[in-house]
């Protein structure tokens, strides 16, 4: 008797499921709340846009949406479907690729990411580098100058592409004849900068390269003032910076009244290097004497040594000023380890690049960009919405499985019945 009851029960459940499936397929889709995760989103988007028109959709985003998926969801929202999303662990990252004002034509990639995040940089060819993010994020310099980059901080990928190209102007170096001026000019020239120079030598004449007389932003991307001999051009330099020019200036010089308008902060007493170059191969500037900078209100620290500010910058009206607290950087080039020559060139080039006034020409990005995936998502789809009240049947038990259950139940019921000899 119980066996017959069980058979009937199976039969009944199968019939109920068949009826439910029938009703499900016949009921109009309007008014339904549908859900999808990233794995099923592409399929769901196609369905929602063609055979169904759910009143509300909820997308679970565990990693970054592609720009296409995001735009599609926005379009869906424009077609009277309320679109909500939720996701855990989405990192708020942003990446931007810009050409570096450097003659070697590198691409700089600035990444904002939570401190400690592992950030992977790739270009069209593949992975370029990976590094753990610091407190201020990460900056990559890609010497291969890719026009588009991907920055992945699991599970999110940001995409950026170059949107402008640079027109580099000349650099003017002012100082007295000496090793610092010689090697700064040499390093900049070897890096590819076009340099004009005025090196004070004697009342009988100075060593001059180029014509420094029209000190304006049309001719110079930046001025490098190395010592007190630059005071004779102080008025012109201040004017040049105010009108948008860049200035890299040796620390002590900023303390002079002539350069007061450009002051970045106060300069401390010189600290002799405590270590030779070969003991700090990875941080060669630790072997340079330093006059630490106490930052003024408008200044930011660009480079620090221990807790002391070694390089600082500030804006002055339309221009920029970078103050270098290191003394006699030529010692690094002469006495540093294997990478010193390249390092000195690169570092001075970066200093100049950091203030350089450059011309820019807009170019078309070579690939779609998504520089701040999470911010863009919030911007386009609104903030996260909770997944409560969402009917999740479609994604819960697919119809194929329900059909299989019905078939199994009916087969079970028939077999049982036949085995006990019932008709």
């Amino acid at each position: 008797m119980p066996r017959a009851w069980l058979e009937r029960a199976a039969h009944a459940v199968a019939l109920v499921l068949i009826v439910w499936l029938l009703v499900e397929s016949l009921l109009p889709p309007a008014g339904r709340v549908d859900a999808a995760d990233l794995g099923s989103l592409s399929e769901a988007l196609a369905r929602w846009s063609t055979v169904e028109a759910p009143e509300r959709v909820q997308v679970r985003v565990d990693s970054g949406l592609s720009p296409t998926q995001r735009d599609w969801l926005v379009a869906l929202g424009g077609a009277d479907t309320r679109v909500g999303w939720n996701g855990a662990g989405l990192l708020p990252i942003a990446a931007v690729a810009r050409p570096i004002p450097d003659p070697i034509g590198a691409t700089g990639v600035w990444v904002a990411a939570p401190a400690g995040t592992s950030v992977i940089l790739s270009d069209q060819m593949g992975t370029l580098d990976s590094v753990r993010s610091g407190a201020a994020g990460v900056r990559f310099v890609a010497l291969s100058a890719p026009s588009a980059v991907r920055v992945r901080a699991n599970p999110v990928t940001a995409r950026s592409a170059l949107v402008d190209s640079l027109d580099l102007k000349r650099v003017l170096v002012l100082g007295s004849t000496g090793w610092e001026s010689k090697f700064v000019v040499a390093s900049l020239e070897e890096r590819g900068w076009k340099v004009d120079a005025h090196l004070v030598l004697s009342p009988k004449g100075d060593v001059v390269q180029g014509d420094a007389s029209p000190l304006d932003t049309a001719r110079y991307a930046a001025v490098v003032a190395l010592d007190s001999t630059a005071l004779r051009w102080s008025r012109k330099i201040v004017q040049y910076v105010r009108s948008g020019g860049g200035l890299v200036i040796e620390g002590a010089l900023t303390a002079t009244p002539s350069f007061a308008p450009l002051r970045v902060g106060k300069l401390g007493a010189a600290i002799a290097p405590a270590t030779p170059f070969d003991s700090v191969p990875d941080e060669p500037r630790r072997a340079l004497a330093l006059r630490p900078i106490t930052l003024g209100s408008a200044a930011v620290a660009v480079e620090s040594r221990d807790s002391l500010v070694a390089v600082a910058s500030r804006r002055v009206e339309r221009g920029r000023v970078t103050v270098v607290g290191y003394e006699d950087t030529w010692r690094w080039r002469m006495g540093g380890g294997d990478g010193a020559l390249q390092g000195h060139r690169e570092w001075w080039s970066h200093l100049v690049a950091s203030v350089a006034d450059v011309g820019r020409a807009t170019i078309e990005p070579t690939s779609p960009t998504d520089e701040a995936p999470l911010a863009n998502l919030v911007d386009r789809l609104g903030p996260q919405t909770p997944a409560t009240g969402v009917s999740d049947t479609r994604s819960g038990i697919p119809h194929a499985w329900l059909f299989a259950i019905v078939a199994a139940l009916l087969l079970l019921e028939w077999t049982s019945r036949r085995l006990r000899g019932a008709p």
Partner: protein, 203 residues
């Protein structure tokens, strides 16, 4: 800012100190004609020491055989690669002399073949003009040494830039004896030293 210091290179072989009175005369003439920040004293720096890289201008002279040690060679190569300037003078002013043979062999081994520096090179116009190339010395004109008035300086050049000057003119004697010879010479022989130092400091 670092002062310019006239450095005499100490090498383990030979008589590196043979022109002991030369550094003060060069410093003296630099002070007379330039506003360069000068160290009033010259220094002697071992070629195999890290101290060498504190002095991007180094003067080498001597009469005796010169055989650099491996450390001296390694340092000198790095010194020049990084932009240091080497001024080498044959105190024998004798192209058959042992200093010339051994020193040019060492320089060639480290930097490749020495070439004649063209007499219209900017070295001869850096501060004072020398239309005919390097100024002659009393030692040459008196027929000492190899009895040749050398018309060119030799050097190691990188494109048009001089990294190493090699001289057979015996400026070591000429400049060392400046106090004795200046009264007989119309033009101060030291002025070419200004050209060399300023060239090293600016190119």
């Amino acid at each position: 800012m670092t002062r310019f210091t006239f450095a005499t290179g100490i090498y383990s072989s030979g008589d590196w100190e043979s022109a002991s009175r030369l550094p003060p005369t060069v410093i003296d003439v630099l002070a007379k004609y330039t506003t360069l920040d000068l160290n009033p004293e010259g220094v002697n720096v071992r070629l195999d020491s890290n101290e060498l890289f504190e002095y991007p201008f180094v003067f080498l002279t001597g009469h005796l055989p010169v055989f650099f040690t491996a450390g001296e060679r390694r340092n000198l190569k790095k010194f020049v690669d990084r932009g240091g300037f080497l001024f080498v003078d044959d105190h024998n002013h004798d192209i058959d002399g042992i200093f010339h043979h051994t020193m040019t062999a060492e320089l060639t081994r480290m930097f490749g073949k020495l070439v004649n520096i063209p007499n219209d090179h900017v070295l001869y116009r850096t501060v004072f003009k020398y239309e005919d190339g390097p100024p002659n010395t009393s030692q040459e004109l008196n027929g000492w040494g190899d009895n040749i008035v050398h018309t060119h300086l030799k050097g190691v050049m990188h494109d048009d830039r001089i990294d190493v000057i090699y001289s057979n003119k015996d400026y070591s004697s000429e400049w060392s004896m400046r106090n004795q010879t200046k009264q007989f010479i119309r033009e101060d022989p030291m002025k070419f030293g200004v050209n060399i130092v300023v060239y090293a400091l600016t190119r």
